[in-house]
Point group: C2
Chain length 486, copies 2
Amino acid sequence: EAASRLWHITVRQDLPTYSLDDVQKHNAPEQGIWITFGLGVYDVTEFVPNHPGGDKIMMAAGSAIDSFWAIYQQHNTLEVLELLEGFRIGNLQKDAVAANVEEELGSPWAQEPKRNALLKPASERPFNAETPLALLGEHFYTPNELFYVRNHLPVPVIQAEQYELELDVEAGAAAGQPTRTLTLAELKALPKHSVTAAIMCGGNRRSEMTRVKPVKGLSWGPGAVGNAKWSGARLCDVLQAMGVQPNEDLHVLFEGADLDPTSHPYGASIPLSKALDPRGDVVLAYEMNEEPLNRDHGYPIRVIVPGSVGARNVKWLTRIIVADHESDSHWQQNDYKGFSPSTDWDTVDFKKAQAIQAMPVTSAICTPLPNERVKPDAEGFITVRGYAWSGGGRRIERVDLTSDGGKSWHVAQLEQETVPDGRHYGWSLWTARLPLSAEQRKQEGLEIWAKAVDSAYNVQPEAFEHIWNLRGVLANAYHKVPVKLS
Amino acid sequence: EAASRLWHITVRQDLPTYSLDDVQKHNAPEQGIWITFGLGVYDVTEFVPNHPGGDKIMMAAGSAIDSFWAIYQQHNTLEVLELLEGFRIGNLQKDAVAANVEEELGSPWAQEPKRNALLKPASERPFNAETPLALLGEHFYTPNELFYVRNHLPVPVIQAEQYELELDVEAGAAAGQPTRTLTLAELKALPKHSVTAAIMCGGNRRSEMTRVKPVKGLSWGPGAVGNAKWSGARLCDVLQAMGVQPNEDLHVLFEGADLDPTSHPYGASIPLSKALDPRGDVVLAYEMNEEPLNRDHGYPIRVIVPGSVGARNVKWLTRIIVADHESDSHWQQNDYKGFSPSTDWDTVDFKKAQAIQAMPVTSAICTPLPNERVKPDAEGFITVRGYAWSGGGRRIERVDLTSDGGKSWHVAQLEQETVPDGRHYGWSLWTARLPLSAEQRKQEGLEIWAKAVDSAYNVQPEAFEHIWNLRGVLANAYHKVPVKLS
């Protein structure tokens, strides 16, 4: 494996050498699409329609992908390098290589914040890291420094004094007014609203789904979730002040200050009906658990869209647009969508699936950890703890545990806020004491299953096989944790 | 079985004889609780706390249950008769029997409406009947005369001219005002609002769950559902006119004109937040598919609570109460709730579970029917049709079909309204063409599975085993239909 990561900086003696000029001529389907990476020249004409990142690959047509991959580090896997090497047609002339490989690549990442050493990284650039499970279940409000981080791009540097939020109404009854801006001080002068909301990555628990069949995406365990009290101005107040009226054909688009290599911001959108509904509790948050947001979580302003997938909770928020269409960003259009288990990268049509908004019901066991050795207490019970959550404001109604493959189920005690159903956006922590039979106590180990039921009595699916999808999102099957017995 | 149904009208020579007077003395836990049924005298002291109908059984303490059972005909099963006979302690004196058994029992049922002969009854008294599956999938709007009927009590006789709807505000900012009434003409004079909504019985598909383990309840197939366009006055308009303000601690209680033997009406309630939300689309309906409601469906007024379980859609509506508590009716408190699979009639505590409101995602195959012989078309495909629905206004996003146990899935074509998600209350009909492999075509038969995914990407659970519950509600596992191949 180590050797294979060097393919692109190895001269292939069996292949011809091309100049940078040769490569630049191949920048369109008619001429063929060539790219370079390190020393390698690749003909990716056939691959372009299947690129998971869509059209973005064409920005590198006829040139080097090195600087793009430095930012989109999801490419830095053995599978991707192997795929690329399959398209190799030659070696790049020496003087051309110097211009590419020796380029200074580190700069977009030079100003990343310091992170808590306990966070478990799924990728370093962009920084993505989850909370260790054993810590996750210990706090109803996840400590800010342990809250999972999901960044798509480098963390921007924003000075509070310079910060401005831009507001545009492009559609609906209030369209046509001039752009407005709000400074941080102006946002803080609006009525302050707090909401307890869990934020969960669409790919949380992807690593379990991957066991069925590989998927594209960061290998998250069950720790890409956290629960916090968010405070700020209500989006409905801001929109109402601009005269925005209810209109179910409209959307609210968000843009962040985090920019991709072509200077396009991270973006996402939600339906206007969610944004305008006071019970939707959408907040332009400047506080997380009563402290100012830290840089990884969107300083100075992050939009909190309670009950919706993490990707809609845009960080470093710089612009809000009321429009007659969803965000056209990659993350709204070509990512964070669910598909049938039989849809593969040859057949997928991202236009056919709805962008994930409200998330389905899920749960996870935080302790014991997988393969941990546990000792039943004096009465023969083992204690199991975890979290459960459902999107769309649906309260968790019940969490059931079994240690015998579902022959007997035990109902957990829930710790949750007393908030009305429909706007119950926080998670529930739970504890269950599972009795072990005499027969079970003779075993070397057993498997504990957790399943949650939400207030619409939706329940988790039993297994990943029939919910598998090519992006590995929505991984909400029963959480099954094997433990060893003392 | 036929003989066992005669137990209660058979003299048990091994047991003593009691007078009506003897029985009447046993009407409280201290003296023991006796009841009579036909010729039998039963000591049910131990059973009373476990009675599925709760306290209602105490109305018969020290007397005859015959007239109650004539209405609550769910007792008329072999299991219940057998259970009762287990409590037998004696025979009733002959003159006492005459007063009970020869009583005229038919009267509450004398005025039932005529029904379409195609409806498949699950019980005759009260009348409960489902739509034949093959017809169900043929109409996006279920024809009124084929729409499933779920009555809990005899159908009341209501004259439009005499009809009055009573409105009381017992809690909240608008409490204390005098009772108001609305005639049918006054309701029709309010702005008319239409909503397409599927109504589904909480026990739809119970017969499949029963195969895991018996449950209490009518043995519904997948036809206890229908989809219609309902028109009437919006409840939010009526409540707003009375000055009712948003308050998430309040509920709206509904009472019907259908009365139980103690003259208590059928009742249910919903949260005030659902009732007041214009997007909740709660309608005081006088039309069903552009015709006046028929008697079985609530003539002259039925409240339609889109997205919620059928039981909240109270028929023959006579009273609306804004209150600080849920309805205290049997059907709100001690029925239509979900429990863990390990909860049985000895351990159940109905107070611990939430009344079903929004229903979970489900689907069913309407054609082919179970064990039907199907012939692949010239290209080797078989065509499968059915319905899918989710509660809470969640649109159906996708329906997946498999004929090989989930090794390959095929996405169905959906027929659905273009209504925004969140208020997508109608069902979706779907059609899929499933390709059969050469190997499959050699088989005598195969099993088709359907699973639906809703807009919150909630998915049906695979099987009934782990969602089994003692009342047999929320039976939303994959629909699995075996077919024979020609």
